[in-house]
Amino acid sequence: MKRTHNFSAFGFLLALSLFSVGCTAKKPVASSVPQAPTNLQSIKIPTLPSFNPPQPKRIELPNGMVIFLQEDHELPTIDGTARIRGGERSVPADKMGLTDIYGEVWRTGGTKTETGDQLDDYLEQRAAKVETGGDIDSTTVNWSCLKEDFDDVFRVFADVLRNPEFRAEKIEIAQKGMYDGISRRNDEPGQIARREAAKLVYGANNPYARVAEYATVAAISRQDLIDWHGKYVHPNNIILGVVGDFDSSKMEARLREAFASWPKGEAAKDAEIKPEPAKPGYYQVDKTDVNQSNILMVAAGITRKNPDYFAVSVFNEAFGGGFSSRLFSEIRSKQGLAYSVGGSVGAGWDHPAMLRLSMSTKSKTTIESVEALDVEIAGLAKRPIDDEEIKRAKDNILNSFVFRFDSPDKVLQEKMAYEFYGYPLDFLEKFQKGIEGVTKEDVARVAAKYFHREQMSVLVVGNVNEFDKPLSSLGTVNKLDITIPAPPKGLMPEQSEHP
């Protein structure tokens, strides 16, 4: 059991309790129990012991593969993740869904020497996993295993990483799973709202908003998967992180032996993607089987590289984060309009995330709620985030800061993200300093800079006939058609059942 700090907060706390004779408990109980202070103010908060979380060892192989090794000896397990550059945003429009299929069949399709089913049996007998996945900007191969099975499982991991076979029968299963997902994408109103809002911010055909269709999934071939693997899976496109109960120098030797001879390949390149936002205004999706409206007010947010990121983080906490934020207090607690309400200027790693206010409310208070959100946006100028709100937001971020690195795995994940997106590896420390320096003026400035009500799109997914007033009472309404484009002929049986 490691213990990187040795300060006992409890000696101090205990002493404090014995000295708290000035306070009387309201209901004294057993005499052996010391009396407790009865108000918040009399409880002293000791200084948090200094804590230096273990930092992973960074290794760069001559072929460009970057490796992070993070020892954690608490449990007898070893887990690893390889993140490979290149993801769904680089897929051509007529093959949308490629990295979903690839991310599944990479593993289920097996390797040159073993089928996916054989791997399943082999790994499950060891309660181990090797899994693959696809995401917007990367794909991954990861493993998890008990320490005693590391050699067996790592062998499978390395084989899957380098020698996948993409067997055709597994492509078919993956495609059917995708068709199922497409057929269900209008079943749940929250899912519709999130998907359509992204289209309003980035553009319907933009890689950050578009969705796979029956035809694009059907167009994906085994050769496409092979080509993708050939194009992207090179050591110089890979960041590998390993965490668990191992010795770093031995693990380093093991990984060098496995990967050092792997030749470099072409570096992945990401084309620049420009958002093409929809015209600001009101958008509506009519859903007749619900009694609650999903409301989203959206625009483009920022990236974390933006110098405003720190002020924006404080703003987000005060405006829409947690129980005591403005939106939660006003819209939920005081007005009782919503269970779910929130809002923030989103900050992406390498592209602007969404600026978004969202809530769901009963059909009969739909327009009332849009207006209530408008009041909150207008209130940012009339009633700027004040000193007390700033203090609460900063205290929240800074006092809970330790939870960003309270496990070796969290530290590892953080560093891997910095490496992947080209941030300094001490970005977390920079963030802490940045938050400490945020002033009321900074917060007012970013609120004014990023919130322009007239540039936002308002999306309502709900049962239009039950609204308190038509959405058109607020402005011109664009009705969105979310009909799922029909599958190509002959793709599925009983097509009439699945429009």
């Binding site: 059991m1 490691k2 907060a9 000696g11 706390l13 309790s17 408990a25 209901k27 129990v33 407790a36 202070p37 918040l40 908060i45 000791p46 948090l48 012991p49 804590f51 979380p53 608490e74 996916g116 089913d117 399943d120 049996d121 499950e124 007998q125 309660a127 008990l146 078919e172 299963i173 199922d180 997902g181 057929s183 749940e188 936002p277 929809a278 600001p280 009519d286 007749t288 089987d289 619900v290 009694n291 609650q292 129980f323 005591s324 607690s333 009782g336 269970y339 769901s360 609460r392 800074l398 006092n399 809970s400 330790v402 939870f403 309270d406 009705k479 969105l480 058609d481 009909t483 049986p493």
Partner: protein, 522 residues
Amino acid sequence: MKFRITLLQTLVVCCLLGSLAFGQDLASFEKRTTVKKLANGLTIVVCERPEAPVFSFFTHVDAGSVQDPMGKTGLAHMFEHMAFKGTDTIGTRDYAGEKVALEKVEEAYAAYIAERDLPVGRDEAKLKQLEQAWKDAIAAADKFSAPYTNEFGKIVEEEGGEGMNAFTDYDETGYFYSFPINRLELWAYLESERFLHPVMRQFYKERDVVIEERRMRTDSNPFGRLIEQFTEEAFAAHPYHRPTIGWISDLYSFSATDAQKFFDKYYVPSNMVVAVVGDFKASEAMPIIEKYFSRIPARPKPDTATTTEPAQNSERTVVLREQSQPVYLEGYHRPDYRSPDDQVYDAIADLMSNGRTSRLYRALVRDKQIASDAEGFNGYPGNKYPHLFAFFATPIPGHKPQEIGDAIHAEIDRLKKEDISDEELQMIKTRAKASLIRSLGSNEGLAFALGQNQSRYEDWRELFRAVDRIEKVTKADIRRVANQTFAPENRTVGIIEFAGGPPAGPPGENPTVTTPPQGGGQ
């Protein structure tokens, strides 16, 4: 602030309850874990985990929606929301004045409800007056708490609290968050104060919030609608047939007085287990925790007798015809978590559902290619009382729910007629061991699991002892339990059938667009 109802969440609980471990882990936890039952009956479990200067806690209250009074479904969950509304010292400017004002709200509400619910002879004009009087009383009471909306949450957040939330399910209510370790005494104060002096302020606004929660999870979600109907059908007598979130008419009826009564009856110290895991020495933490939680006065343990669900002797089916895609769900009654066969059921769930080697995946997804997902699981809708072993699957386009049912039944028949293989049995046991090991690596997970086992078995070690029981499960056990459980007359089926797309809306003044018009950019 949520109630636990999704299948996934149920699965998580089952995994925690049904996993195994090595003996040496229990030995290590024996050294790190201390239990103390206070004089008032409240149980404290503390576990040392010095990995980082933080701690997590779980307060388990052994009362859930099963304890909701008749006509007041949703009350356990409603109280859970109220436990975030502060105390007589947190969230008020003048509690003496507020107390009187809140009593007036209750009087006004009772008068309003009495008139509203008159079976005959309701006076509409009088009703309007009474409603206004109630709203005026609320406004008067709110003046005492303004501007301290959500003061309790505000304190936790500004002190660095992480992941503050709570859940209510059929069996229990849980409260949890994490703090940096230097806030241990502050936490002990806040968490004990919360259950020493809760105040039912802003109750009716919060009730509106809860009703929105019902609209989100149940009314406006096809799967939410299905499980409400399915559960109601599967249980005829036991309170599991009622929704945790509450029926809508009950939500519009119960009062702050009802919530306070629920609290008084069920939030008694002997009904509560507080588990704390983190970077402390038990010898130093326990006195602090004891000092604060000892303040809660002892009260008699409530009568929690419920009707035992009688044997089901006819197959039951609910079919929802929806605008959404089909879903198949079925459940079989099984005994509660104390059953000697509990781990046999866990073994069956693992065999049928866990990963791509599972029988349901291989039969329905890989071979027949009729489903995108298929699994079987225990603990629906709870596990403290006799409950269901359920199967759930989603047919892929072109396949009907009935086909799914047939395929699941074929797999069940195999289970009844043939022994599972040696490899399968070994895999179940190995996986259970590994899954327990992995569950021990977080303060939150440990606080939940140690506290729940202490609450259910009066011994946290049951978390580890399940290992011995699953190790003893035999092929014959699996066949025996499958045969006694998976009988058609013991089955309830819930289906969503696709009934066509939404009706065409009225013609509007604006054209419908697939691609929104392009804007000027930002």
